[in-house]
């Protein structure tokens, strides 16, 4: 099956309309909590960008944006430990910072980012995630704003990818069983 093909997709799990409505709610909550303050939204490339773009426009307090990128674990990792491959452009000392992430499951990456940013002495540091899989959490991170709890399925779209494909989809969509079977075969784990 070719990467990024439509046949790799299954059913829609959350429609773009449902996601938009929840993002607006999160924007209202954040605007209320940070009333009278300026907020720095920090997104983690690449997955968080689409959520950040919509969330930033749903927030009514003044915001600035910044980005970082992390080299995660995998066969192509060029390092023996997690590290930033792109740091923030601006200092966050004394700033109110909100980390904006698309999805959290184990919390390993977010835990690393949270600790790293906390050491930079922001005035406050909170986390906003759109999609959550708390039952797989290994590292506890205080999460102030949640969007949706995800079902136990591999999903793509709205920033979430499968081998860097499907991020652009407006809906959240399950990967097809055929694609998952193919992928599970590659890592020699049974699919069931």
């Amino acid at each position: 099956m070719s990467p990024g093909s439509a046949e790799g997709l299954g059913e829609v799990v959350l429609t773009s309309r449902q996601i938009r409505a929840r993002v607006r709610q999160l924007g209202r909550a954040i605007s209320r909590d940070y009333a009278g303050q300026e907020l720095r939204l920090v997104s983690v490339l690449k997955g968080g960008v689409i959520f950040l773009a919509d969330l930033a426009r749903a927030v009514t307090v003044p915001v600035t944006l910044d980005f970082l990128s992390v080299a995660g674990y995998g066969p192509g990792a060029h390092s023996s430990a997690v590290r930033l491959t792109k740091d923030l452009d601006e200092s966050i000392v004394g700033r109110h910072v909100l980390i904006v992430e698309d999805v959290v499951d184990t919390g390993l990456t977010l835990g690393y980012i949270y600790e790293d940013l906390q050491r930079r002495r922001p005035a406050s540091l909170k986390v906003c995630i759109l999609f959550d899989r708390p039952h797989r959490r290994l590292v506890d991170i205080p999460i102030e704003y949640h969007g949706f709890e995800l079902p136990d399925r591999f999903v793509v779209g709205y920033g979430l990818d499968w081998r860097d494909h499907y991020r652009h989809l407006p809906d959240l969509v399950a990967l097809s069983p055929a694609l998952l079977r193919e992928a599970a075969g590659e890592i020699a784990l049974p699919f069931g």
């Binding site: 995998g74 430990a81 390993l108 784990l189 049974p190 069931g192």
Partner: protein, 116 residues
């Protein structure tokens, strides 16, 4: 002393934790779960990993879901008898998702119940 893991998935899990600088211990504690009339332990459970910074035990399994009842029973009993102990069971679906997410390629198959 190098840790000898019982299963390749456990070794991969340890590598992932190391990568993210999460401290771990391998099978550091055995919890008695059932005792016979003579007071001897009949059933016990040794979770695979302990993450001290999270105060969390983690049990990984690649058991076929149909064979999970004994493992689930052990985890339930552990939670009943030791309510202060935090334990997380990563079932086959979770292990597979973890390996898909991190692109790891350990050569493993589903285990018969007695082996995992």
């Amino acid at each position: 002393v190098p840790v000898v893991f019982a299963h390749p998935i456990e070794a991969e899990f340890a590598r992932i934790l190391d990568f993210y600088r999460v401290r771990w211990e391998y099978e550091p504690k055995t919890f008695p779960l059932e005792w016979g009339p003579d007071g001897l332990v009949k059933l016990c459970f040794t979770p695979d990993f302990y993450l001290p910074d999270q105060d969390l035990f983690v049990e990984l399994t690649t058991l076929n879901p149909r064979l999970m009842h004994r493992k689930n029973r052990k985890v339930r009993k552990l939670r009943d008898l030791y309510p202060a102990v935090r334990v997380k069971l990563f079932a086959l679906r979770d292990v597979r998702a973890l390996m898909l997410k991190y692109g790891a390629v350990p050569a493993v198959e589903a285990q018969p119940e007695s082996a995992a």
